[in-house]
């Protein structure tokens, strides 16, 4: 019952080693060698947003809530005139959910500026909501030079569950102004080496390729750690730093319940809750673009696969493939990124918008590494996306995880199956002392007898990225063209662009690890470009946004066509047509009826309707001329004129309309 103690002493120690922090009064970060140089602090972002509000008659600033530490979460509304935002369907652009994705915020702000500068005509058709930075606390942390590159907010999380909070944060041991990584050379027996230097470029760490056919198999020679010391003496380094919940794992769709950084429950974080509330209250949002670490435009999202319940799509439903292909083409034409890393979308914001809110939801990285200049083979190389940096935490889902047991690499699940089989066979439960003495060989024997498949826990749960196979046999005598790994391409790019994205390895005598080398990729260097790139990026992204808006669903009412069939007996047809290139909602939500429909209501009482419904529901209308046809035959009562009858269309997205049935002309009468 002892409450968690924050290990203040440890934290102070690590801060003392960290060196001077950037003062918040500076509008932009100073050091040009930092990837965050030239990026907006929270204050600067507020200023820019306020400037936009003040200088434009099409932009208004408000907040949707506050962060955990009390920072405002800005909302910029772009519209034709103040107060008419809800009168049009809306697009939502969200950025800065992941605290490292600083470029996404810059891009979102620049898009806002460009729209009010040159595209206000679009605002007559569509409102644009922009939340440039959902995670101001995480951004503030990452804007400091000594950032470890953590995506989350500032919720205290006991990462290593040792009943102490945030007691082992990173340390800049060699005072080079970066938190990088350490290679422990010649690790002792209890610290199994995992990597070796890439023979083609010793700066890079690779995992040993034990299947190497030509030449010797490779052996790992060092272990990798984040730069720091074991502040709390538990044998681990930097395992419990500033703690955080990753906001982009805190939403409802496929919420990874027991993942360390997914939050205590969906929307547990005020930032996530704020934007979810905003979306729920503004059901006139008909499309969304989320800039951050996820992407479904360069690489099409997985279509057709289901989540663990079998009832929801894992990424998208097969019926929406066309929609995403179309958006992907627009993205290629305007922004043209060729690659994007893949992350599990469980609990992410954009996935929730698609799966549960029926919103065509697009996600893109603000920046992609440009193609390398010259060097023939490098451009064609198939990229292995496996990187040896500390990855964004891989999300743990219950559908594929096996639990280790104390018996070799046999999983607990297999052991339990065996115990069940034993019990079923003998009628008695397994003796626990016996279980304590079981060996992997015994398990293999019993499993074979019982016909049970052994499921093992492998030390590396992810398969290694396939080494691209060389296409041709080596008989022509030419030197083998080696394809570059993703990390190698990063190095080449940093060199070409003159960016400090990588710190060369320097020896260091570590207090507990012994001989190490400190170096490696600079946090955020692979995510945020030099600030000089931000304007060109924004130009392209704005063009993409304009294209999306041009593709928006556009409804028109066809009719009413009225025929008088007899005295007081009328036939009426009305169609609602979508001339836009996108559907009104996703095809998935249409089939599952996930969100409220467009409602048509005829004013005629039910007992006078002969064909048709008084209340009709339109769950969605397909693009490019898709239509929803409505057909009624009804009687009017003796004191009622057909012009008294109305059809009410009730729809938050496209607005409410009232159709009056005018008197049919002489030719219409049959």
């Amino acid at each position: 019952m002892t409450p968690i103690r924050t290990a203040g002493a440890g934290l102070l120690l690590s801060l003392a080693l960290a060196g001077t922090a950037v003062t918040q009064s500076q509008a932009h970060t100073q050091s040009q060698s930092q990837p965050q140089a030239g990026y907006l602090t929270n204050q600067a972002l507020s200023d820019a947003a306020n400037d936009l509000d003040a200088s434009s008659t099409h932009a208004w600033l408000s907040t949707i809530g506050s962060s955990l530490a009390g920072q405002p979460i800005h909302l910029i509304t772009l519209g034709s005139s103040k107060g008419t935002a809800s009168d049009h369907p809306a697009m939502l652009i969200t950025a800065g959910i992941d605290g490292r994705q600083l470029a996404s915020t810059e891009t979102a702000m620049r898009i806002a500026q460009r729209i009010v500068e040159s595209h206000t005509d679009l605002l007559d058709e569509m409102t644009i909501y922009i939340v440039p930075r959902l995670n101001p606390d995480g951004a503030a942390r990452n804007l400091k030079p000594l950032t470890m590159g953590d995506p989350g907010n500032t919720r205290p999380v006991d990462d290593d569950r040792d009943r102490l909070l945030n007691e082992d944060a990173p340390d800049d041991l060699n005072n080079d102004g970066y938190i990088t990584t350490m290679r422990r050379l010649n690790p002792p027996i209890d610290d199994m080496p995992t990597h070796l230097a890439d023979p083609d470029d010793p700066r890079l760490n690779i995992e040993p390729d034990t299947n190497s056919k030509d030449g010797e198999a490779q052996h790992a020679s060092f272990t990798i750690y984040p730069e720091g010391i074991d502040n709390d003496g538990d044998g681990q380094i930097n395992e419990d730093g500033f703690g955080s919940v990753d906001l982009d794992q805190n939403f409802m769709h496929r919420w990874p319940e027991h993942a360390t950084h997914a939050g205590r429950y969906p929307l547990s974080e005020p930032e996530a809750h704020a934007i979810a509330q905003f979306v729920l209250e503004n059901d006139h949002i008909v499309m969304a673009l989320t800039l951050g670490r996820h992407d479904n435009l360069v690489n099409l999202p997985q279509s057709g696969a289901k989540d663990i319940s079998g009832a929801a799509p894992k990424e998208i439903d097969a019926k929406d493939s066309e929609l995403y292909k179309h958006a992907s083409e627009l993205f290629k034409e305007t922004v043209g990124y060729k690659e994007a890393p893949k992350h599990d979308t469980a609990g992410s914001f954009h996935a929730w918008l698609y799966a549960q809110r029926g919103i065509p939801s697009f996600a893109a990285n603000a920046w992609a590494r440009p193609e390398l200049e010259s060097k023939d083979e490098t451009n064609e190389a198939e990229t292995s996306t496996e990187s040896t940096d500390a990855p964004a935490e891989d999300v743990v889902t219950t559908d594929s995880e096996l639990t280790p047991s104390s018996v070799g690499d046999i999983s607990m699940e297999t052991l339990e199956e065996l115990m069940d089989a034993y019990e079923a066979f003998t009628g008695e439960p397994v003796d626990q002392t016996m279980m304590g003495m079981i060996t992997p060989d015994m398990v293999e024997q019993y499993a074979a007898q019982a016909g049970i498949e052994i499921r093992r826990v492998t030390p590396q749960a992810e398969p290694k990225a396939d080494q691209p196979k060389s296409d041709k046999p080596q008989s022509d005598g030419k030197p083998k063209k080696k394809k570059l790994s993703d990390d190698a391409k990063w190095l080449a790019y940093f060199e070409q662009a003159g960016i400090t994205g990588f710190v060369d390895w320097q020896p260091y005598d570590h207090p507990t690890l012994g001989e190490v080398e400190i170096g490696g990729f600079v946090p955020l260097a692979k995510i945020n470009p030099p600030s000089s790139e931000l304007d060109p990026i924004a130009d392209k992204m704005t063009a993409f946004v304009v294209d999306l808006i041009d593709a928006r669903p556009q409804l028109s009412i066809v009719g009413p066509e009225i025929k008088q069939l007899a005295d007081g007996l009328y036939e009426v047809r009305v169609s609602i047509v979508n001339e836009g290139a996108m559907p009104t909602t996703t095809a998935y939500s249409q089939s599952k009826r996930t969100i409220r429909p467009i409602v048509l209501r005829l004013s005629t009482p039910v007992d006078q309707i002969i064909k048709g419904q008084r209340v009709s529901r339109i769950w969605g209308i397909a693009p490019d001329g898709g239509r929803s046809d409505h057909h009624w035959i009804f009687r009017t009562s003796s004191d009622e004129d057909i012009t008294d009858i109305t059809i009410e269309i009730n729809d938050p997205r496209f607005g409410n309309h009232s159709i009056t049935l005018s008197q049919p002309s002489a030719e219409d009468q049959s």
């Binding site: 009943r163 003496g233 729920l280 319940s309 009832a311 409220r596 409602v599 209501r601 419904q613 209340v615």
Partner: protein, 586 residues
């Protein structure tokens, strides 16, 4: 008659014997409470609040009252903590959380919770077994999770099934209007009963012997009634009747574990805890990690339910955890005749986002939902269904006609001539009031068995051996004498909650670890901060765990061992470093 005399004689004899043997402290099992509550009737939300206040006022040492939030309509969510402060703060003890009535129509759940508070408070200091329980553990009682639904059910005409929902207006039929088509009490009997259309082509008819029974017309016989549903009119003129009444969501699908949206799980809301009631309860539970057991009463069916709510979550109930649930669930079957211990998805139906599922699977709290009341308790032969005639006899001869409204004919605005009548809201699901007290007591007994099996730790044995001049080996056995482990296997696997912690203060610890038993030689040794041994697996139910420390010290050094677990009382022991063994009795 005969029996009564015999009982009288027995009692007299017993009293006589007791008079000879010891002074009578109290009349056995007939303890008065300071608060007089009748358990043969039901109480609406206001009356419930009065009983709560009276109990808290009468037993101020044991009971604390707080409102943990407000419902949709502004009613307090009453949380009563029952704890003996003389034996420690509630937060230092394992606690059981007990609530009911998340579905507003499942009314007897509240009386069952109130009964537990009433019985425990009057028993403390009087009944040894319960005194010991109250001194050892804490209770958090929430008599109604849905006070708005409860109030609505009592105040207005309803069926046994309606007012299940919270009372936030909701567009259930997707027509853009909120709660625009509720049922109406057309025959004015104060209940929403059934409505039948008088229809020459109908498939149903009134029973020839007892016209109160409406049955399917036998083959070859023309019926004259068609079922229309509940009584009401088409308020919004859309051709449907009663399709959008008050509320229309299910707060027992609004919890964070395996929460699924509305189109997959009806009534789930837009996200977990989007109702003020569920949010208040969730916040309370998350702030009290000492909660080690949970019960949420519902009606009906005679079930003791545990998760998982969906087949694909079976893996969240590993073997050793299932054994714990089985032991407690099976004990419940003995205490509750005609109740069955069941697994939600397998034996009942799929539930996504259920409350006890969140407690168990999300938070590692051993929890059950009891579905109170089963008709088997009143059937002449529980092995077969009640016949319609037997049902009528019950309601006529035992209940004196109080749960049935006879059919009357009315003119319906759109359906012409209709018959309206049938069972009232008390006619099913709700325990007949005269049987309520026994039902409360039996469920109370099961819940106390459950509570009494929250983990209880004690140091059992300590062995000290001197290995070298200043190297000592300390072996300690800690016993958990109760069924529930300090950490479920699920909690360990999914990193739920905090590991237990065993610390050694005094001389420097070189290494430590868990060992198989006191005779074992090898340890799975921890060398980093070994004086602070984290035990993610906890101590299992009704078992002994053994730990070993190697320390550098001198004879007569003082050693303090402390064990702390989220779901058990902390224990600590101090001793002197000296070779030898010590049995520690309790």
């Amino acid at each position: 008659m005969k029996n009564r005399n015999r009982t009288k004689l027995c009692t007299a004899g017993l009293l006589a014997m007791m008079a000879l043997s010891a002074p009578i402290a109290h009349a056995q099992q007939q303890l008065p409470s300071k608060v007089d509550v009748s358990w043969n009737r039901y109480y609406d939300s206001d009356e419930m609040t009065t009983i709560i206040r009276d109990l808290v006022e009468a037993y101020p040492k044991l009971l604390t009252l707080e409102s943990i939030g407000k419902s949709e309509q502004g009613r307090d969510m009453w949380l009563i903590t029952l704890n003996n402060p003389e034996t420690g703060e509630a937060s230092t003890k394992p606690a059981m959380y007990i609530d009911g009535n998340v579905h507003g129509n499942e009314i007897q759940a509240t009386e069952t919770v109130l009964y537990a508070i009433w019985y425990l408070t009057k028993s403390h200091g009087q009944v040894e077994q319960l005194t010991e329980l109250i001194d050892r553990v804490a209770f958090y009682f929430l008599p109604s999770q849905n006070p708005d639904g409860r109030a609505e059910w009592f105040a207005n005409p309803n069926t046994p099934h309606s007012a299940r929902t919270g009372q936030r207006p909701t567009d259930n039929d997707f027509d853009g209007l909120l709660d625009e088509d509720p049922p109406e009490d057309l025959d004015g009997d104060g209940h929403i009963t059934s409505m039948w259309k008088i229809d020459p082509n109908g498939r149903y008819r009134r029973n020839e012997l007892d016209p109160r029974i409406i049955e399917r017309a036998p083959e070859g016989v023309q019926g004259n009634l068609t079922r229309l549903g509940s009584e009401g009119i088409d308020n919004d003129g859309d051709g449907r009747i009663n399709e959008d009444g008050p509320g229309g969501y299910d707060m027992n699908r609004n919890w964070a574990s395996d929460w699924q949206p509305n189109y997959i799980q009806f009534g789930a809301g837009q996200h977990p805890f989007d109702s003020p009631e569920t949010k208040a309860v969730a916040d309370f539970i998350l702030e009290h990690p000492n909660i080690a057991a949970g019960q949420s009463y519902h009606n009906a069916g005679g079930m003791i339910l545990r998760g998982p709510g969906a087949k694909y979550l079976d893996g969240l109930y590993p073997r050793s955890d299932r054994a714990v649930y089985d032991q407690i669930g099976n004990a419940g079957e003995d205490l509750l005749p005609y109740y069955d211990y069941m697994v939600l998805h397998a034996d009942l139906y799929t539930v996504h986002g259920g409350f006890v599922n969140w407690l168990s699977e999300g938070l590692g709290i051993v929890s059950f939902t009891n579905e109170l009341w089963t008709d088997s308790r009143i059937m002449p032969d529980p092995s077969r269904e009640f016949s319609a005639t037997e049902r009528m006899h019950w309601q006529d001869r035992m209940l004196f006609g109080q749960t049935f409204t006879d059919y009357t004919e009315h003119t319906h605005p759109t359906h012409g001539q209709v018959l309206i009548g049938g069972g009232t809201k008390y006619s099913s699901r709700v325990t007949p009031p005269f049987m309520l007290e026994e039902a409360c007591h039996r469920n109370f007994a099961f819940t106390m068995f459950h509570a009494g099996n929250m983990p209880e730790l004690a140091f059992k044995w300590i062995g000290v051996e001197q290995l070298d001049s200043d190297l000592w080996e300390i072996t300690v056995e800690i016993e958990n004498s109760k069924i529930i482990p300090t950490r479920l296997a699920l909690a360990q696997r999914n990193k739920i909650g905090l590991p237990d912690l065993l610390t050694l203060d005094g001389p420097h610890t070189v290494l430590s670890g868990r060992i198989r038993d006191r005779h074992a030689d090898s340890i799975n040794a921890v060398t980093d901060r070994p004086g602070r041994l984290l035990i993610d697996a906890g101590i299992g139910g009704q078992s002994v765990s053994t730990f070993r420390f190697l320390v550098e010290g001198d004879e007569h050094d003082t050693i303090t061992l402390s064990y702390t677990a989220e779901k058990a009382r902390d224990i600590e022991i101090e001793f002197t470093l000296k070779a030898g063994e010590t049995e520690l009795g309790k």
